[in-house]
């Protein structure tokens, strides 16, 4: 292994030693100095776009951008002096000179990075004439709202869209003052390759890219005495919602969330983790059918992630037959609520409204993706909110979240096994599926249900699982760029008539899986992704029932209603179809 060269330098008089290649920005953090920046995000490459992070180096007349300048041996850096602060201030005033100041009615009010830095710099007046570009708002996707006039041209969304996700919906167009973010050459976002993953919105420092806020819709439903509102929460929401209320990152707040949702006015509180267990029953059985009974092509590819479904339909239309037809967990809970639950409780399904709380912006699109999403005869899920929207609702309702007592979910579609909860992290769906597939193939439960090889943030995780002498080759990919790598490998093998490299593939579009979803609280980093995932894995480890097929309420659902996995009824209610879609609508 090559030894890493160490660099010794001085920052604000403090000696610092870092690996060669470390930027001045990162090196400064090691000596407790925060250099302000608006464009550099820990997930993304430095673009040197904002100019706020300038610093001085002794014997260098130019100011350097700390985000993209590597520290060099012997450098003597000053990060803060009156001259530098004054220059930063001017840069900030210039950014503000073409940014709207209607912060009070902006979605990012109180968590905008530009607003925060302006507050820190004590900006009190406009020193430059304000010139605002007139660019219309793009609401075409119904999931992500693009408001380019609030854009500060930091380039984060573009790096996320092009390089992290390899989707290439967004780019800058035009130049100079006219530069703006735009979908694929000035079309609507919905006509572009956008898969609604929302990573652009999760990385935007301002309100230029924002989830379509549907909280008002939910308030109206909750107020309507004629409606019976049912709610469900996704696995990844429980370990992220606390960030809105001052909890340490990764705190698992499942039971407090149940209590909160009842206080908000929901009559029944279900859990998408139940749906995850149900998905495993269907998808796991689908895998066994294909792998053991050779009924269908391999590899089987998971389909819980709606941004991934969208990506596959657009980029891999030729590989649809490999896709699991099982719906995503919250869609399953929606369909079961308006059929099974309605029947059991004797409630008119027309009056039931299902609201999903998801870490995801793409789920807003998924709920009306095709007519399969109305399998119950009604739209199975009526509204899908992001974690960020839920946090706002809790605050609006004046609920003292931190002091709430714990409550339980309504168990019929709310109980879950450990397998269901790890769905929220990359590798979790695969691990859950393997636990149940092993049982389905061998008739025995695994002695050790932990699959460490599929956990963690490695972009592509490949391993072989031994199922009583039979090797199952699997791959887990998260972040669409990594997904592309795996999919291209499969496509090449098929094209060249070679054996496929895997039997089973798990895909999650967002880096880290749903814990890092596009609808989660802002400023996510790999550390935060790891801590949120840990919150889920810890919950799983503490549970007595760790496999989906052990969930007693799932067993009851099959006994009383669905008969067995992949039954005619299960197919009708819990499975869907895909179709190849054009990358560009026009």
């Amino acid at each position: 292994m090559a030894t890493v060269t160490k660099i010794k330098a001085i920052i604000n008089g403090n000696p610092v030693e870092v690996d060669a290649g470390t930027t001045i920005l990162d090196a400064a953090r090691k000596v407790q100095v925060n250099i302000p920046t608006l464009c550099k995000h820990p997930d993304l490459t430095a673009s040197a776009g904002c100019g706020i992070c300038i610093v001085k180096a002794k014997n260098n007349r130019k100011m350097l951008r700390a985000c993209c300048t590597p520290l060099e041996e012997g450098m003597d850096i000053i990060t803060h002096d009156p001259d530098i602060v004054a220059t930063r201030r001017t840069v900030l005033e210039l950014i503000l000179s073409n940014h709207p100041t209607d912060c009070l009615v902006c979605g990012r009010n109180n968590n905008c990075e530009l607003q925060k830095i302006c507050a820190e710099f004590g900006i009190r007046e406009d020193n430059f004439e304000r010139i605002l570009p007139e660019i219309p708002v793009d609401c075409s996707t119904g999931t992500i709202i693009l408001d380019p006039k609030k854009c500060i041209k930091c380039g984060r969304c573009i790096d996320a869209c092009q390089n992290m996700q390899d989707v290439w919906a967004l780019s800058f167009i035009d130049r100079g003052f006219k530069t703006r973010i735009s979908p694929a050459g000035d079309i609507k976002l919905a006509e572009s390759p956008c898969v609604r993953c929302g990573q652009c919105s999760a990385h935007c420092p301002t309100g230029a890219i924002f989830e379509n806020d549907e909280t008002q819709k939910v308030w109206s439903l909750l107020q309507d005495p004629d409606k019976y509102c049912v709610v469900q929460i996704a696995p990844a929401v429980r370990v992220a919602v606390g960030e809105g209320f001052g909890y340490p990152v990764g705190t698992n707040l499942t039971k407090k969330l149940y209590a909160t949702l009842r206080r908000l006015g929901f009559k029944t509180v279900f859990d998408t983790n139940f749906g995850a267990d149900l998905t495993i029953m269907e998808e796991g059985t689908e895998f066994v059918e294909r792998f053991v009974n050779k009924k269908g092509p391999l590899p089987l590819i998971t389909s819980c992630c709606p941004a991934w479904v969208d990506y596959l339909e657009k980029y891999y239309g030729d590989m649809i037959s490999l896709f699991s037809s099982a719906k995503s967990p919250h869609e399953m809970v929606g369909a079961m609520t308006k059929t099974y639950y309605a029947e059991k409780k004797n409630i008119d399904p027309a009056k039931i409204k299902v609201i999903s709380i998801m870490p995801c912006t793409a789920k807003k699109y998924e709920i009306s993706r095709t007519e399969d999403m109305s399998a119950s005869g009604f739209q199975d899920v009526d509204v899908s909110l992001t974690t960020r929207e839920l946090i706002r609702m809790i605050k609006q309702a004046g609920i003292d979240f931190n002091q709430l007592p714990d409550e339980d979910a309504n168990l019929m579609l709310g109980d879950y096994a450990g397998a269901g909860t790890i769905f929220g992290a990359t590798g979790g769906v695969m691990e859950a599926a393997l636990r149940t597939a092993y049982f389905a193939i061998t008739g025995e439960n695994l002695k050790d249900v932990n699959f460490q090889a599929v956990r963690g943030l490695e972009g592509v995780k490949e391993t072989t699982v031994n199922v009583k002498g039979t090797e199952v080759k699997i791959a887990v990919a998260h972040g669409l760029k990594n997904v592309k790598f795996v999919m291209d490998k499969v496509r090449d093998a098929i094209k060249n008539g070679q054996p496929v490299p895997y039997h089973f593939i798990e895909v999650m579009a967002c880096p880290g899986g749903c814990v890092g979803g596009g609808g989660q609280p802002y400023m996510v980093t790999d550390d935060i992704r790891k801590q949120r995932a840990k919150g889920l894995y810890d919950e799983d480890a503490a549970m007595t029932k760790r496999c989906s097929h052990e969930n007693p309420y799932v067993q009851e659902l099959y006994k009383d209603f669905l008969e067995k996995p992949l039954s005619h009824k299960a197919h009708k209610l819990l499975h869907t179809h895909y179709k190849s879609r054009p990358l560009y609508v026009k």
Binding site: W168, I173, G185, S192
Partner: protein
Amino acid sequence: MVVENLVNDVKEVVTRWKDKEGNLIMILHDIQDRYGYVPREAALEVSRQSDSPLARIYEVLTFYNYFKLQPPGRFNISVCLGTACYLKGAPALIDEIRHLLHVEEGATTKDGIFHLQIVRCLGCCGLAPVITVDEKVYSAVKRADVAGIIAEHSKAVSKN
């Protein structure tokens, strides 16, 4: 504009440059040489054939002033905004053209007759401010002259 044989045209151009690194800009140049501008259909076809995302293609197309996204007009009016022309009153000429033709910079009138473009220095600063209509140069132009210059070419069209 009827774009015949577009797929084949693009194929020819893409093949010509396929081994050259950073070939996108050359491909787009050739497309513009052929059609006079880069039609949306051609950009889409380049995207398909060269495996370049449309977002990248439009980054390039809109960054360089040279590329046109709309069909050129019958006459191409270029107004120089180089330093000398700028100081001698070129902005007023642009205003007047916009006003008379209802056309923005880089666009073509609805009837397809005039295309307005802004250029940086035509290399004859002594004649500032300068307008050219295709190859014909008008020097020391005043705002009041603009209507006459336009009329001269409109008449030529109506005669044909």
